[in-house]
Symmetry: C2
Subunit: 145 residues, 2 copies
DNA sequence: GGTAAATAGTATCATTCGCAACTAATTATT
DNA sequence: AATAATTAGTTGCGAATGATACTATTTACC
């Protein structure tokens, strides 16, 4: 590897990560944008509730590193569409716990199946060893925040 | 790996990529935001010109997969700050070729050095084998667009 | 050669984002 | 117990984004 190369965009990891993440996001968002007219943050909130059970907005913020205003707006939108309900906690009325409705769970199941199909196809494009390395690196780097 | 896990966010590559890319971007943007009050697209345009020589806006769009309106605005901003100049091509007056000014080259060199330092530190957090695997996967996935 | 299609880049406008200020509720301090 | 500090969540507002329409120029085609 020459000096010139090591100084260039082609080896700069934050840039490459961003390009790769954008490419995947662009492909995958078709599944929730066209079918349910959902934004990415809305998809994330839905999946946090679907995958991890009932949570407060704060818990979703902490898990996903999404800004609280974005989560707040996504929650409001999902609630308006009848995909989730909120209940103020009796023990601390600042918190409200969110819970998917029957319809919300239906939508989650549908999109979860789409996600699994997409993910499986993507895994197919790499060897199991490559996947393991990638997966552990992604987790490690995502922890940095 | 259980079924439940394979259906969950924790293994979903587009999500993990996005989280990792965001974490790195958040760290790295300090170098150009605080020092030069630059946006990411502006940084990218500067680096395309610095790394690959004079280009038209269209060429930057094609190389970086950034929308032409974003590039257009980034170019206008860099021009206003005196970091680049534009010259309409004589052979086709629709194109204009951009060229870093002396000041623009200075800024590029400074930020390039920051980028190299950052990248080297990031590489240190993984083995050479991990890096090679990661790098080739990132390139492959970024190509998808 | 004149008209239509294509291309580079800009402008417009509606949507989304992110910061900061705000409300409401709880906890800590004295 | 009163006041201050903290926390969860929302709102308002200016900045950034993205889709579309537009201008100017070139190329294709009849």
């Amino acid at each position: 590897m020459t000096d010139a190369q090591s100084y260039s965009l082609d080896d700069f990891l934050p840039y490459l990560f961003s390009q790769a993440a954008d490419a995947l996001s662009l492909e995958f968002q078709q599944t929730y944008r066209t079918k349910y007219n959902m934004l990415r943050t809305e998809w994330r909130v839905l999946f946090h509730l679907g995958c991890f059970g009932d949570l407060t907005a704060k818990e979703i913020c902490d898990r996903s590193n999404v800004h609280k205003t974005k989560v707040s707006r996504a929650v409001a939108s999902l609630e308006k569409r009848g995909f989730l309900t909120r209940e103020t906690m009796a023990t601390d009325r600042r918190h409200s716990v969110m819970c998917l409705t029957a319809e919300g769970r239906e939508v989650f199941k549908d999109l979860q199946s789409e996600a699994q199909t997409y993910n499986a196809a993507l895994k197919q494009t790499m060897t199991p060893e490559e996947f393991e390395t990638l997966h552990s690196l992604l987790l490690r780097i995502a922890q940095r925040q």
